[in-house]
Symmetry: C2
Subunit: 250 residues, 2 copies
């Protein structure tokens, strides 16, 4: 008899964003599988096996999890944020799609979580309060011209834009290229928010705009938010401004 495979969102940072459903799945799991820093966030429980791996082996990790579930184990693959948003859930189903037929009969349950962009938005105010999109700048798996096309349509459609994976050692100029492209379509005073390490001790929020943002401030822990025409800044004394996007057209 085969087991169960949970794909669990831990939310960004500490346990404050963990849902009841996620706690339950982690409690049931015999095997906890994931990228090392995420596995480390799961409270230790007696008898539970923990398999931590590097971030670059997503498909191997997915296959390992599926084989364990096939063998009858209750497995939890853990992801930061929401596993359904630029994370392990798509990798898991990709592995099922390419794998043996019996994996299609498995009991697979995705447990959603608070995503990085939602936590960043909550800290800034409500910048995702109206029509928005999320784009990954990683060109590991898709060509850069596809990313350029999406950035252009996001800008021309007047969407608020959340940028995931904006920087890496392998491609340090990508975020600068993205800002340059967006400047062709959007006004210089378009809001830009850099939300770094949200929910962690070293959290840092930078409120700036498209014509003056410094790409060197963007690192792998940064979620970048680009405003739309309806995005407004509320000036405050002795406190960080609030940012929200009006539900009206712009």
């Amino acid at each position: 008899m085969s087991g169960t495979l949970y794909i669990v969102g831990l939310g960004p940072a500490d346990e404050r964003w963990l849902t009841l459903e996620a706690q339950q799945a982690l409690g049931e799991a015999q095997d906890i599988i994931g990228y090392e820093p995420y596995v480390a966030r799961v409270p230790l429980r007696d008898g539970q096996t923990r398999i931590a791996s590097d971030n670059r082996v997503e498909i191997d990790r997915a296959r390992d999890a599926l084989e364990r579930a096939q063998a009858g184990r209750v497995v939890a693959v853990v992801s930061g944020g929401d596993p359904g948003v630029f994370a392990m859930a798509a990798a898991l189903f990709e592995a099922v799609d390419a794998g043996p037929a019996e994996w299609r009969a498995l009991d697979i349950r995705v447990v959603p979580g608070v995503s990085a962009m939602q936590a960043a938005a909550a800290r800034l105010g409500a910048p995702l309060g109206h029509d928005f999109c999320a784009i990954s700048l990683s060109d590991n798996l898709k060509p850069w011209d596809v990313i350029e096309k999406r950035l252009e349509h996001a800008a021309r459609g007047d969407f608020v834009i959340a940028l995931y994976n904006p920087a890496s050692r392998a491609r340090p100029t990508r975020i600068a290229d993205a800002f340059a492209l967006l400047r062709r379509f959007l006004p210089g005073d378009t809001f830009v928010g850099l939300a770094k390490s949200v929910g962690r001790e070293k959290e840092d929020l930078i409120l700036t705009q498209l014509d003056s943002v410094d790409p060197a401030l963007v690192d792998m822990s940064t979620l970048v938010v680009i405003g739309a025409s309806g995005t407004r800044r509320i000036a405050r004394e002795n406190a960080r401004d609030w940012v929200y996007t009006s539900r009206k057209a712009g």
Copy 2:
């Protein structure tokens, strides 16, 4: 001394998607304010005041909450899903922006939650696994031609699209108009998912495609997901297919 205003996401449906942070805010709050069905989902606590109102009075509700916080109360405004995504957080900050200067000194904290599109995606598999956008079809506050422009750019940019507020008694043809527009840009076999009452007893998931979707099946409780070129369906025997979006280009 002024109080605190929490804007709390309850997640869709029952308490399984409630975060620890949300539970804590609801426990601290003296006043619980919101649309009646959301207020009803908050566990009763002695001494807590509950102010339930109609869904059409968002700005009045926001002002009431801000006045109570200004008067020193600990207030929680509750929202289904994530308050930052098409919900109360933007309405609250809109009220602050238009309100008296002292409201800018208030302690306002947005508590994010699992949004309807994330819960729907989790049930379907991982359709939001790659670049996606969220569009509200409500034309209460923005003109329909802005919505049309966004749908067109979302389609031309090859985004997965989550449609919020796809139907209402006041505008029953909007979703049919949206499908007709999307058919001008997307292949007829583009995946369409209708996720109805996700997480509730009457939950219903309909997997179909753009050239054959019946707009009459879409009601106010439906979250509509339109696939991108990279969205794939995994056929299963005796079970609903899984749907995911590949992290590759298409």
